[in-house]
């Protein structure tokens, strides 16, 4: 132990940080190429969005301002330069700077994803423990079936079902939007926001807990089959004591790591959930941007989601290094 765990963490942090930067650069190039190659004309979409007829001269002016006729590499470099200065352009459908929309919508999305993430983690871990403890018995079989069925469901359909049951039939929850209709956004209380958040968050967490539950089950079974658990049982420890003393310590951190590594699915799921519940987050913005040809917003959200996922992966990788001595040795 010549170098402490802290120094290693810093080193890993720098290595992964450089990797994230290279990934972000590559994603920006790919995304830019993809939207440039698209037959959907952003200028046309922008003009449609203005809602008024535009003369050919005005159109040429917009094209010149946007640099449509410049070579793609030059356009990309201009865009990247502006991006690094914090200017992500103006959204064609919302008529506001992309960065403003990103922050505002991300706050909504984050509330949704955080709730779902925590809920899925807790439910998944608890169910995984139950499955592991009752291996091959009735509770295990039932929960396993439920997990498999849930992971074969499309997120949006589950959202539709919940909407149908809880909003249409029982009338407990609103049909959509993050705030009541007809109330100014400043007047919306936190309670109302939470009320509108419950159903989408529940959908999202139902979609993602099966993965963590099945993983925890497998890990717990491995632990319970080990020699040290046999020895503990021989000493007279009960099943649940073994779970608390030996099981939880060994399976908690891997489960947490897995949770951090699942940000991509979480984001993908939130796109679907937000669209079903018309929740004003990044997910509903990205599909609107894609459908209405809002290129700046589409690029902005793509980069933002990449950053979000990469940060999750970074945390997962750092955690791996902390918990697994074998990886720690290789990392040296």
């Amino acid at each position: 132990m010549d170098r402490g765990i802290f120094a290693r963490l810093v080193k890993n942090f720098v290595v992964y940080g450089l990797r994230i930067i290279s990934l972000l650069l590559a994603v920006s190039i790919i995304a830019f190429t993809l939207v440039s190659a698209s037959p959907i004309d952003p200028v046309q979409q922008y003009i449609l969005g203005l809602g008024t007829a535009v003369s050919p001269e005005k159109r040429a002016e917009i094209e010149a301002y946007w640099g449509v006729n410049e070579p793609p590499v030059r356009r990309y470099l201009t865009w990247l330069n502006e991006l690094l200065h914090g200017n992500m352009g103006e959204s064609a459908i919302y008529r506001r700077p992309v960065s403003d929309i990103l922050w505002e919508r991300f706050a909504n999305s984050l509330a949704l994803m955080l709730c779902a993430w925590v809920l899925a983690g807790v439910i998944g871990f608890a169910l995984g423990c139950v499955m592991g403890m009752y291996r091959d018995r009735l509770p295990d079989k039932i929960i396993k079936k439920v997990c498999y069925i849930l992971s074969s469901m499309p997120t949006f359909w589950l959202g539709l079902l919940l909407l149908l049951v809880f909003s249409v039939w029982l009338g407990w929850f609103p049909i959509g939007f993050s705030s009541p209709i007809g109330v100014l956004s400043e007047n919306v209380t936190v309670g109302q926001k939470i009320y509108h958040l419950i159903l989408p968050a529940f959908t999202l967490s139902l979609m993602s807990f099966s993965n963590i539950a099945l993983h925890t089950r497998q890990k717990l079974i491995d632990v319970l089959n080990s020699e040290y658990v046999l020895f503990a049982r021989a000493r007279g420890e009960g099943r649940w004591t073994v779970l608390c003393r030996h099981g939880l310590r060994n399976i908690l951190l891997p489960a947490l790591t897995l949770q951090f590594a699942s940000f991509a699915e979480l984001f993908g799921g939130s796109v679907m959930a937000e669209n079903v519940f018309s929740y004003p987050g990044l997910g509903s913005a990205v599909s609107a941007a894609g459908l209405q040809g809002d290129v700046p917003l589409l690029l902005g959200i793509t980069l933002f989601s990449t950053l979000f996922v990469s940060v999750g992966n970074l945390i997962a990788n750092l955690l791996y290094g902390v918990i697994d001595p074998q990886i720690r040795e290789v990392g040296r």
């Binding site: 990797r19 698209s38 539709l160 796109v271």
Partner: protein, 299 residues
């Protein structure tokens, strides 16, 4: 297989003599045979759904306003939608469209995965590093967003959907194949073969490729549920197939508009059908894996 049927195994004789349980059909079969039978029957169901969907004509799914919004009954098992179309036939037709997209996309994806995985494991070090970086790259963009981007690039429609799904699903299989090839390369018989003067190409074709065939098929079948779920999701968002095409995602997107009027059947029943197909293929993949994987054949 044939040996098994001609000579009763020791275990089965013991079973007969002990006479504890009646020798029913299920006990008579060993796990492997059960897996083979399950695989065959699941494949047959799958093909029937697919062909039935293909055979339904355009006329059968066009409806009239006279019989709009009928709840499920004997004539319309899934009811009719707001335009009076038969939802059951539309669902079947949509499923076969989705299955076509799913099969094509996962086949392309599996081929990419094999090529990339083999290149990473068999090529030079820097190639491995580059491929790992590319895999990281694809994994770091949420798939839904990447498919939306690709679909946007290709002007939406079937082609964008197909390319998008194919381009996003190969990563995990490529990693599995890479690991498999790396493990095979360190085997003794490969080293022996090399000492006997066989060329790398010969070793690859004769010793490594046969091991990858089961991985390829299992990967392909297990990739299919993901592909079809993504297809439905992206169509639901409106990026996939055109709205007049009866795809599952589009049927469900339409049903959302009438959800508050209490037309539950157009939302619930097509969705259940989709989930059943996904579960069926999942089960199929598991069984094929059990048949092909020698380590699990004894379970």
């Amino acid at each position: 297989m044939q040996n098994n049927t001609k000579q009763p195994s020791y275990g089965r004789q013991l079973y007969k003599r002990s006479n504890k349980k009646p020798l029913n059909r299920i006990n008579y079969l060993n796990n492997r045979k059960r897996a083979v039978i399950l695989t065959t029957s699941l494949t047959i169901i799958f093909v029937i759904v697919y062909v039935a969907g293909m055979l339904i004509s355009e006329d059968a799914v066009s409806g009239s306003f006279l019989n709009a919004k009928i709840a499920p009954c004997f004539k319309y098992p899934f009811g009719t939608d707001a335009l009076g179309r038969n939802v059951f036939l539309r669902t079947l037709k949509g499923l076969s469209v989705s299955i076509t997209v799913g099969i094509a996309a996962s086949a392309i994806s599996a081929v990419i995965a094999v090529l990339v995985g083999v290149a990473a494991a068999a090529g030079s070090r820097w190639l491995d590093a580059v491929i790992n970086w590319i895999i990281d790259l694809v994994m770091s963009v949420p798939h839904t967003i990447l498919i939306i981007l690709i679909s946007f690039c290709l002007g939406r429609g079937m082609k964008g959907l197909l390319v998008g799904i194919a381009a996003t699903h190969w990563c995990s299989l490529a990693r599995v194949i890479r690991g498999e090839v790396l493990q095979l390369r360190s085997q003794q018989y490969i080293a022996v073969s090399r000492r006997l003067g066989k060329s790398s190409g010969w070793i690859f074709v004769n010793h490594i490729l046969p091991h990858l065939v089961p991985q390829f098929f299992v990967g392909l079948v297990l990739m299919f549920p993901h592909a079809i779920l993504h297809e439905a999701s992206i169509s639901f968002l409106g990026f996939g197939l055109p709205p007049e095409q009866p795809a599952i995602g589009i049927i469900l997107a339409e049903s959302m508009r009438y959800l508050s009027t209490g037309m539950w059947w157009t939302a619930v029943l097509p969705g259940i059908t989709l989930v059943l197909i996904v579960l069926l293929v999942d089960k199929l993949g598991d069984n094929i894996k059990m048949i092909l994987d020698p380590y699990r054949a004894q379970e």
